[in-house]
């Protein structure tokens, strides 16, 4: 089979990218979580029990690869030039030798650690974006991802108390999130499922027109904060006009259908059908109609009729993050490694700074061919860091190191030392006793 490659993706370029730019050492330091150090508390087998998997250019899929250090990984990647590298869980034993262990009686081959991960993909939003669909994204719909990052990142930190959260552009139409705190890595499937469900507001299926159902006399504080701090603003100031959510009959009908009270829906429908004729071009029609919508629904006479939540439900439907739940719920899901190149778009999976995620522009993310051009521009210089700095991937790597890797490794070092000392203390105590 001849792989279909986009112009931005070329296997020779990929080889060059792995040869000169791909940050192997950073990646390995990250997934070693401090166990590559010299401290006696380090678990030397840790990295070697991690599953990597490679997708080769002819759709060959190599699972259960494992490596003991940066060099091993680097050599293997350079040799095989995978179009995609996935990272899996840390297993109880070296996944490459799982068959040998399977002979033994008590040795179960099972995942023991895995980052808590989230996968958010724009294709899940096709019913709430009109600018593009399927695999495409543009600056008009990208804010949906920005919202997702803001909502999930805030809750991961403020609610769940996680500190080491890495956001990565998936290279095409979505984002990945890696929660790397020790506690997160050791969550059971049930606990992962609980967190995923905590984030879930969508119910039902394609057939029920109202997907979000918010009941109860108040919103849970997490939903309330998300609504007031993120969703409402993005809906009113960005998506409403950007996506023209109320501009045409077809579109506003979709929203009117979410009102449980038919008489109110038809009241608004009447107004909007008229206003099509009389609308002054001055104000944006979406804004005008949304104001009318809110006014009618939140006016005193309807307040009591269980419609109070309707405005919020609509905002949630059009903005709230849509997670791929299965990815988050199970330890053994694989997820593409940061800094891979997306084979369809040629774009590098660069980290996204959650604090500045509204500035992130997927259309300006460096592409493979761009990087190669930059590399060729100055001829050959052997210093790797020099290469990095010259090319536009340098910023991405700097961000990865400064905002994620360094604080993470510092915490890991402390944890390793502390748990080692604790063990020492315990063994001393038990000896004395």
């Amino acid at each position: 089979m001849i792989p279909q490659q986009e112009p931005d993706f070329n296997l020779n370029h990929l080889k060059l990218y792995y040869g000169k730019l791909f940050p192997f050492a950073d990646l390995v330091r990250w997934v070693s979580y401090g166990n590559d150090g010299k401290h006696p508390g380090c678990d030397q087998s840790y990295l070697g029990r991690r599953e990597f998997s490679f997708t080769l250019e002819n759709d060959i899929y190599l699972r259960f690869q494992s490596f003991n250090n940066t060099l091993e990984l680097e050599n293997s990647v350079k040799e095989k030039s995978p179009v995609k590298i996935d990272i899996g869980p840390v297993y109880s034993v070296d996944p490459a030798k799982r068959y040998a262990y399977a002979q033994g009686e008590n040795n179960v081959f099972a995942p023991v650690e895995r980052e808590l991960i989230f996968d958010i993909d724009m294709t899940d939003y096709d019913d709430v974006r009109y600018c593009c669909s399927g695999a495409d994204v543009c600056l008009v719909c990208w804010p949906l991802m920005t919202i997702a990052i803001k909502v999930i990142d805030t809750a991961l930190r403020d609610d769940f108390g996680f500190k080491h959260v890495l956001w990565v552009y998936s290279g095409r139409r979505g984002v990945h999130c890696w929660v790397c705190d020790r506690k997160a890595r050791r969550l059971s499937n049930e606990q992962r499922g609980a967190i995923a469900d905590y984030f879930r507001v969508y119910k039902g299926n394609e057939n029920s027109h109202k997907k979000v159902s918010l009941t109860g006399a108040a919103l849970h504080p997490f939903l309330a904060t998300s609504y007031t701090n993120v969703l409402k603003d993005y809906f009113e100031k960005n998506l409403l006009t950007g996506q023209n959510l109320l501009a045409t009959e077809e579109r506003y009908e979709k929203i009117l259908n979410m009102i449980p009270d038919e008489s109110i829906a038809s009241e608004l429908r009447g107004r909007w059908q008229d206003s099509r004729r009389s609308s002054s071009a001055k104000e944006d029609i979406n804004v005008v109609r949304w104001e009318q919508f809110k006014q009618v629904l939140q006016s005193g006479k309807h307040k009591a009729q269980g419609l109070r939540r309707c405005v919020e439900e609509i905002v949630f439907s059009f903005t709230y993050p849509r997670l791929d739940m299965e990815v988050s719920k199970h330890m053994n899901h694989l997820l593409k490694a940061p800094f891979c190149v997306h084979p369809k778009t040629g774009r590098v999976c660069v980290p996204i700074d959650p604090n500045r995620c509204d500035e992130f522009d997927p259309t300006t993310v460096p592409t493979l061919s761009q990087l190669i051009e930059e590399l060729n521009y100055e001829g050959s210089i052997s210093d790797i860091d020099g290469e990095l700095n010259r090319t536009s991937i340098g910023n991405a790597i700097t961000l990865f190191r400064s905002s994620f890797l360094q604080p993470l490794l510092k915490a890991c070092k402390e944890e390793i030392e502390n748990s080692y000392n604790l063990k020492l203390q315990q063994s001393k105590n038990s000896l004395g006793w």
Binding site: K203, S208, G216, H220
Partner: protein, 458 residues
């Protein structure tokens, strides 16, 4: 535990003194090393059985949580006292372990015992003082600390939000909350039933109760299986002349809620039965009923499930015969009906034989049945495909809003909850006790419909 002949009562529980000073609940972790007189073996067990059966009755009558609380308190007081105050704890422990032996022996018995003991435990735990509660929590390895007043004040508003989001009143100043690492209460996290902040869930006292009750239940569930193994592998044989007969006799006094004779809403008559089936039968019975009308036949499992249910709702023998005859004769002819089927219907109404067999089936029995092809018995929430269930609920008149919740519960294997939600959707009234028995569904439904009728006629 050692069972001894009368008179030789010696050193009972060594810890009985402490037990008096700190009134708490034993967790029944291991069989006590104490000696029990044979007659106490039996009488203690019967006393406890009275408590459990009272609870079971209360539950199936649909008593509200507060009512249950009082009920359990009274039942305990009446039955579990002992003339020597210091022996109360022993009686508690002994009776529990004896009944464990009695109820370990089949899946159905275990289920019933498990749910009654858990419920008993839950209610007893609730009424303990804070100190004793903490002691129990510590025994379960839950070293949680209660939120201080200062901390409570600072998160009060958010706690109120959480409560209101679940349709509950905001907590008052004396409410007790525990600060628990969120990963230890995954169910509460998943349902957004707690405030979560900086890695900790703020768990209300009543939520702790269910946490503890869940732990208690799963611990008991495991040990019941072990007890069963011991029973079949050794005890039954060893004790063949002494304990085994007692254990087996105790068991046949098992009834669960007794729906074998309907009292309250007796005498539904044949002419009303179509209407009544439509309004007040749970889905399992409604389905059998409809199938019978359609096919004029039901296989054995279906005949038993529906027949005993009808007996329970008060269809008398004569009407029952007429009812079955009317349908079956259309298919198999009158003669064959009288020959083959009438006998077993009479038999179901007969008093001879082991009576448990002729008690209307409970939900757990129906849910655990295994209908084969051509069978229509069983619990639709469990045994139907999702499509069929959706269609059946639709026919019953469940609206689309409730539908998804019901299907969701069924999908997650909470069949009785799914049934409860259906009940609520159709009657527009909450059913706090949940559905445990098709006949309970029926009598609760009748109750509601009658009171609605009264309301509208006055």
């Amino acid at each position: 535990m050692e069972i001894v002949r009368p008179q030789s009562r010696r050193n009972f529980l060594s810890s009985s003194n402490d037990a008096v000073s700190v009134p708490t609940i034993p967790l029944y972790r291991s069989a006590p090393s104490l000696e029990v007189r044979l007659e106490e073996f039996e009488s203690f067990a019967i006393d406890r059985l009275r408590v459990l059966k009272g609870i079971s009755d209360g539950m199936s009558r649909g008593k509200k949580p507060e009512e249950m609380e009082n009920l359990v308190k009274d039942l305990w007081k009446v039955n579990m006292r002992h003339q020597h105050a210091s022996d109360v704890l022993n009686k508690d422990i002994i009776s529990h372990f004896v009944l464990r032996l009695v109820y370990c022996r089949t899946e159905d018995l275990r289920k019933w015992f498990l749910s009654m003991e858990s419920s008993l435990f839950r209610h007893r735990f609730r009424v303990l003082n804070a100190e004793a509660q903490r002691a129990v929590m510590e025994e379960f390895n839950l070293p949680y600390r209660a939120v201080s007043n200062v901390e409570f004040e600072s998160i009060k508003e958010k706690l109120g939000q959480v409560a209101r989001s679940m349709g509950q009143p905001a907590p008052t100043a004396d409410a007790i909350f525990y600060r628990v690492p969120f990963e230890e209460v995954p169910e509460l996290v998943a349902g957004r039933k707690v405030l979560i902040s900086q890695g900790y869930a703020y768990v209300a006292m009543n939520q702790i109760v269910s946490l503890i009750a869940t732990l208690f239940r799963s611990q008991l569930s495991k040990t019941l299986v072990l007890t069963n193994r011991k029973w079949t592998s050794s005890i039954r044989e060893q004790e063949k002349h002494r304990l085994t007969p007692i254990v087996e006799a105790l068991c046949s006094s098992y009834l669960g809620p007794d729906y074998s004779q309907s009292r309250e809403y007796a005498d539904i008559s044949l002419k009303d039965i179509d209407q009544v089936a439509k309004n007040s039968f749970p889905l399992c019975m409604r389905h059998l009923f409809d199938k019978l009308k359609e096919d004029h036949h039901l296989k054995h499992g279906g005949r038993m499930q529906l027949g005993l249910f009808l007996k329970g709702v008060g269809l008398n023998l004569e009407d029952a015969l007429a009812f079955w005859r009317a349908e079956f004769s259309k298919k198999v002819g009158l003669e064959k009906f009288e020959k083959q089927y009438a006998y077993s219907i009479r038999h179901n109404y007969g008093k001879e034989g082991k009576r448990t067999d002729y008690t209307p089936y409970s939900c757990s029995k129906i849910i655990s049945s295994t209908p084969g092809t051509g069978d229509h018995h069983g619990c639709p929430y469990r045994h139907f495909s999702e499509e069929n269930l959706r269609a059946a609920l639709d026919r019953m008149g469940v609206n689309s809003r409730a539908m998804e919740d019901v299907l969701d519960k069924a999908r997650n294997r909470h069949y009785q909850l799914a049934c409860t939600l259906t009940f609520e959707a159709l009657h527009g009234v909450p059913c706090d006790a949940g559905i445990n028995h098709p006949n309970q569904y029926f009598s609760d439904s009748k109750k509601i419909l009658q009171s609605k009728q009264k309301d509208s006629s006055t």
